[in-house]
């Protein structure tokens, strides 16, 4: 291959030279080049090494189907592997490098050692490792790991950067009447037709320029058609998006688009995202996605310098590069003749070999005039040469067998074996393409949705036909009746050709060059009993590379059909999946990264907490105070001090994140009585009650207290994590199951700031903040009492005397905006009494000491009895879950039940998540597990709660091992009652 840049012609801008580097060397190209065309113009031939065999690979095409020139663009945190050089737009300063080779793609040690040739035929993995792990677990795991390492290193593609992606990506939504994909003559005509009838049209083109195959033409007529269409589209107000790939079609006319915004810019503006991920909802979609030229399986058909025929037309007419001087063009159809003529007129010596015995007189004349020699009845048998093609041995078909004939020297071997319409996007919608025997390709089947194919994507080969089919597709999409246009457009029919080989000969003839799948692999798969095309695909990995078999699938099918003795449609096709071309993970993520990965919720007291020394932690979506360290304190020192202070004097804890739901209406108490397992019908005004909600299946859903503020007005609280779920559940019940109940629920979680104030000195501290200090005397506000009162300054508040910590405790709620004012008052009154602020860690300690359950215990798998709260289930009324909680399996005595856990040796500790086992039977799931642990300042040692089958009664006095093999090892523990501190609850009634 001896390519040269021409002095004139093409669409490149010779006044704008660009410099770039390839594998560390500097090169020059022009604006309008791709990386591939610029490298070709610079005489570079070997641009890649193949996936398994490390064979040298060069440019095979001029588009997205490229399987040879696969490179890494950029460096460091912007390195993007497995990019096709044929679609990488050149810019000044572009840095590209070869991959899967050492030290470089030109001289790859791996290849010269011939290390890979004998391995890696189809099913290599399965056969070599069958009987070894992971197929059979046990001995030999290490062996497998060693092989795996070597294979991974030898076979592969580019390496992804391990650094964080520095770029940002946007998500955009759009609507239109008609979405047109592809801007060839069909796509542009369709878009224009629709726009001129008043439709809102988006035209999407993956290339950086409009025109499709018209860009590959240099004749004045093609240029005029293109210029006129572009001008008309602009005038008609079509929204044109270049550098944008429609990578997937989804339900309801939804298309996924990837717009490359700054990839082609030398200087990337700070304000622009690298790419935009568009979700477009279109009433109608027209796919004018063109067709891809096929190649043929013959020996060494992957040699650098073997290309698809039409690709050279692109290099010649678009990029001003003559790809070779001495060219052999092999074809089986009419489409390659124009290319041959143009190459010859550009100065190359061109020999055309056509498989067909006879061709049209017009074509013969055309070739004569251009000086192209034509031979018929021939096909390529073997490409000669090592790192670049030097010639081709031809073969002639005699009967059913190929016979080797003459050899032609050449520096470029072009192949055209017909065209495959790009039906990928239609396939995303489940449309199965239909094999057309005459055109020897799959054509799209009509789609039940408003998706229409046009142009070469529908099998129309000439520009005139493409234009007509584009207009017809637009009319059809707009609901008008149109006559069918017959596909095709060649004078002499195509003569199908998929493989050329001498019978019995084993060769390296590539079907899927990107995954190094050869025709022998296909036959081997058949020989080993793979008859389904889906199995063939997975066994050989045919079509599973980054191109999804754009070049190789049809050949693979044809070879499989031949092996099976069937025809192609009987073998069937595999289904294409999105994306049509690869989409960066960053584009899928968009702005949802880092701190935007998930919603962040802050309580109204957030800033106040921070000002007072809080270290925050994540609790679901919430940021909550974890602990309030005093000077020099560690987490454990802080939480132990906080928990101790609460038991000795008092502490204040932000509980604003608890779910709060206003339940209002004449039937509110009846409603609560149905959803809670315990009785709520007779809850007095001014009283709170702890309640447990079950699901229909009898498992515990959530718990919390509900306060009766007046006859028809309740405030229901939920756990922090259960807030959303409970709200949805209550709405479902009221709208779907019990519409007759006159109840309204509304979430008021964000309307209130709430604190828990707990400890023996609490009453004095709160009284100091109230306008009427007597309001919370033991008489006025007994245990589980609720009242409305005012803090100093007239701040209206709700106070409930409820306790999670087991101490005398109150929850105080004020309107969210007044949260800080409340905290200022409470803290000013508490600090002089020796009080503290406490966070989640101390809250955990206090509740574990008391054996109170939270989300860690109520994990959706436990019954009310498992959690030790069976007495909360009423026997006098039915409620949600009351029927199914009595399933026999749920009443077994050996079910895991809530227990407390002490280390046998009180100086020991253990971890949450450890399994509880019999000491002589440490295996499997054990007998139970630990859900939460803490150091208990009240008891002076580590404690935990968890579940163990049969509960406290079954294990009292018995030895149990808490096993935690990957962290802590085994610890001997003792099972105790979950009520580890103040079991009679005397403190909170004080």
């Amino acid at each position: 291959m001896s390519a040269t840049r021409l002095n004139t012609g093409g669409r490149i801008d010779r006044s704008q030279p660009l410099s770039f580097t390839w594998d560390g060397r500097s090169y020059r190209g022009f604006a309008g080049d791709t990386l591939a065309s610029a490298l070709m113009a610079n005489g570079e031939v070997v641009l890649g090494r193949s996936f398994k065999y490390h064979r040298p690979r060069g440019i095979m095409s001029a588009g997205v189907e490229e399987s040879g020139a696969i490179v890494t663009l950029g460096t460091g945190n912007r390195a993007e592997p497995n990019t096709k050089a044929t679609i990488a737009e050149l810019y000044d300063g572009l840095v590209a490098s070869g991959q899967n080779a050492w030290p470089n793609v030109r001289n790859d040690v791996g290849a010269s050692l011939g290390l890979f040739g004998r391995f890696f035929s189809a099913g290599f993995y399965y056969k070599t490792f069958m009987g070894l792990p992971p197929f059979e677990w046990g001995r030999g795991t290490g062996l497998w790991m060693q092989y795996e390492k070597i294979i991974r290193k030898a076979a592969g593609m580019g390496e992804a950067s391990r650094q964080a992606d520095p770029d940002c990506y946007d998500h955009v939504h759009a609507f239109c009447d008609v979405l047109v994909v592809g801007s060839g003559p069909a796509g542009m005509s369709a878009a224009l037709q629709a726009a001129q009838q008043g439709k809102d049209v988006i035209l999407v083109e993956q290339d950086f320029d409009l025109g499709g195959d018209l860009l590959n033409r240099s004749d004045p007529k093609s240029n005029a058609i293109r210029a006129e269409l572009i001008a008309a589209l602009t005038a008609a107000g079509v929204r044109i998006m270049t550098r944008t790939t429609a990578f997937g079609l989804y339900d309801y006319g939804t298309a996924g688009l990837l717009e490359r915004v700054t990839d082609h810019l030398a200087v990337k503006p700070d304000h622009a995202p690298r790419q935009r991920f568009w979700t477009v909802r279109a009433a109608a979609t027209i796919l004018a996605t063109g067709a891809l030229e096929r190649t043929v399986a013959f020996e060494n058909n992957d040699r650098p310098g073997v290309m698809t025929a039409n690709a050279t037309r692109s290099y010649l007419n678009r990029y001003g590069v003559l790809p070779g001087q001495n060219i052999v063009l092999s074809t089986n159809n009419d489409s390659a003749y124009d290319t041959a003529g143009e190459l010859a007129r550009a100065g190359a010596k061109v020999s055309l070999v056509d498989l067909r015995e006879a061709i049209g007189a017009d074509l013969s004349e055309q070739m004569n005039a251009a000086g192209v020699t034509v031979q018929t009845g021939l096909a390529p048998l073997k490409a000669l040469g090592g790192k670049a093609v030097t010639g081709v041995q031809l073969a002639r078909l005699q009967g059913d067998t190929w016979v080797a004939v003459e050899t032609l020297p050449c520096d470029l071997l072009l192949v055209s074996a017909g065209w495959s319409p790009v039906v990928n996007l239609l396939s995303h919608r489940g449309g199965k393409p239909i094999w057309d025997q005459d055109l020897s390709c799959f054509l799209p089947a009509p789609c039940a949705e408003n998706v229409t194919m046009a142009g070469a994507a529908a099998g129309h080969w000439s520009t005139e036909h493409c234009t007509a089919s584009g207009i017809a597709a637009a009319n059809l999409a707009m609901g008008q009746k149109v006559g069918a246009i017959a596909p095709g457009g060649w004078n002499t029919p195509i003569k199908p050709l998929y493989e050329v080989r001498l019978s019995g000969q084993k060769t390296k003839s590539f079907v899927d060059p990107q995954h190094d799948v050869t025709s022998s692999d296909i036959r081997l798969a058949h020989q080993e009993g793979f008859v389904s095309v889906e199995h063939l695909k997975r066994y050989t990995t045919l079509g599973m590379a980054t191109d999804q078999g754009k070049m190789g699938n049809i050949i693979g099918l044809a070879l499989m059909a031949e092996a099976l003795g069937k025809d192609i449609p009987a073998v069937g096709t595999t289904r294409f999946r999105p994306p049509y071309t690869p989409v960066a993970i960053g584009a899928l993520a968009g702005r949802n990264t880092g701190s935007h990965f998930k919603t962040l919720r802050r309580t109204p007291l957030h800033d106040w907490n921070l000002r007072h020394g809080a270290t925050m932690t994540d609790a679901g979506l919430w940021h909550r105070p974890w602990y309030f360290a005093r000077r020099g304190e560690s987490l454990s020192e802080a939480y132990i001090r906080e928990a101790t202070t609460v038991r000795e004097s008092l502490g204040i804890c932000d509980v604003s994140s608890l779910g709060k739901i206003a339940v209002q209406g004449p039937d509110a108490s009846e409603f609560l009585n149905r959803i809670y397992s315990n009785a709520f019908a007779k809850l007095a005004v001014g009283k709170a009650r702890y309640g447990i909600m079950l699901r229909d299946d009898g498992m515990v859903m959530d718990d919390g207290t509900t306060w009766r503020l007046s006859q028809n007005d309740f405030l229901l609280t939920t756990t922090t994590t259960g807030a959303g779920k409970v709200m949805v559940w209550l709405e479902e019940l009221l709208q779907l199951r019990w519409p007759e109940l006159r109840v309204h629920v509304s979430s008021v979680s964000d309307q209130w700031a709430g604190v828990s104030v707990a400890g023996p000195k609490t009453r004095a501290a709160i009284a100091a903040c109230l306008e009427d200090p007597e309001a919370i005397s033991a008489e006025n506000l007994p245990f589980m009492g609720v009242m409305e009162s005012r803090l100093r300054g007239g701040i209206k508040c709700l106070i409930a005397r409820i306790s999670f910590s087991g101490e005398l405790a109150y929850e105080i709620y004020v309107p969210a905006d007044l949260g800080e004012a409340m905290m200022d008052q409470l803290w000013a009154a508490s600090e002089p009494l020796g009080g503290c602020l406490y966070g989640l860690e101390a809250l955990g300690t206090l509740r574990i000491e008391k054996g109170h359950v939270t989300g860690a215990e109520l994990d959706g798998r436990v019954t009310i009895d498992d959690a030790g709260l069976g007495k909360m289930a009423s026997t006098k009324k039915p409620f949600i879950g009351s029927a199914l909680r009595q399933r026999p399996e749920l009443e077994r005595e050996d079910r895991p039940q809530l227990v407390g856990i002490f280390p046998k040796d009180h100086s020991d500790s253990f971890n949450g998540g450890a399994l509880l086992c019999k000491p002589d039977e440490i295996s499997g799931f054990g007998e139970g597990w630990i859900t939460a642990v803490t150091h208990s300042p009240a008891l002076g040692h580590w404690i935990g709660i968890g579940y163990i089958s049969g509960g406290h009664d079954a294990w009292q006095g018995k030895s149990v091992t808490a096993t935690d093999p990957v962290r802590k090892g085994d610890v001997m523990v003792e099972i105790v009652s979950p009520h580890m501190f103040d079991p009679k609850g005397e403190r909170m009634h004080g």
Binding site: T279, A448, D696, D697, V728, E731, E732, Q735, S882
Partner: protein
């Protein structure tokens, strides 16, 4: 990428909605026998084709809706409020 025409808010992307379940299930009375509850909760059809489903417009008006949908094609035939009074009120206004 289903789009659901909410009777209150207009046509919205399904990401605004939360799927509930089979809308044809009639839940027994709370005091019904365990067997009835067992059948309602666990004996579910896995319909291929047209079925009535419950969806909540959870990031919208929060109304529960009865959506008649083809589970194969995602085609939606009808959407109405699950609350019968709401459905009736809409009919009267229409």
């Amino acid at each position: 990428m289903i789009r659901i025409p909410c009777p209150f808010c207009g046509t919205r992307d399904h990401s605004e909605f939360a799927y509930g379940g089979d809308g044809a299930i009639i839940y027994p009375d709370l005091d019904a026998p365990m067997q009835d509850w067992h059948d309602a909760v666990f004996q579910r059809e896995n319909i291929c084709g047209r079925q009535v489903e419950t969806w909540q417009h959870v990031n919208g008006c929060r109304m529960w809706l009865l959506v008649e949908r083809d589970t194969m094609t995602h085609e939606i035939y009808s959407v109405r409020p699950a609350h019968p009074d709401m459905a009736q009120a809409l009919e009267v206004t229409a």
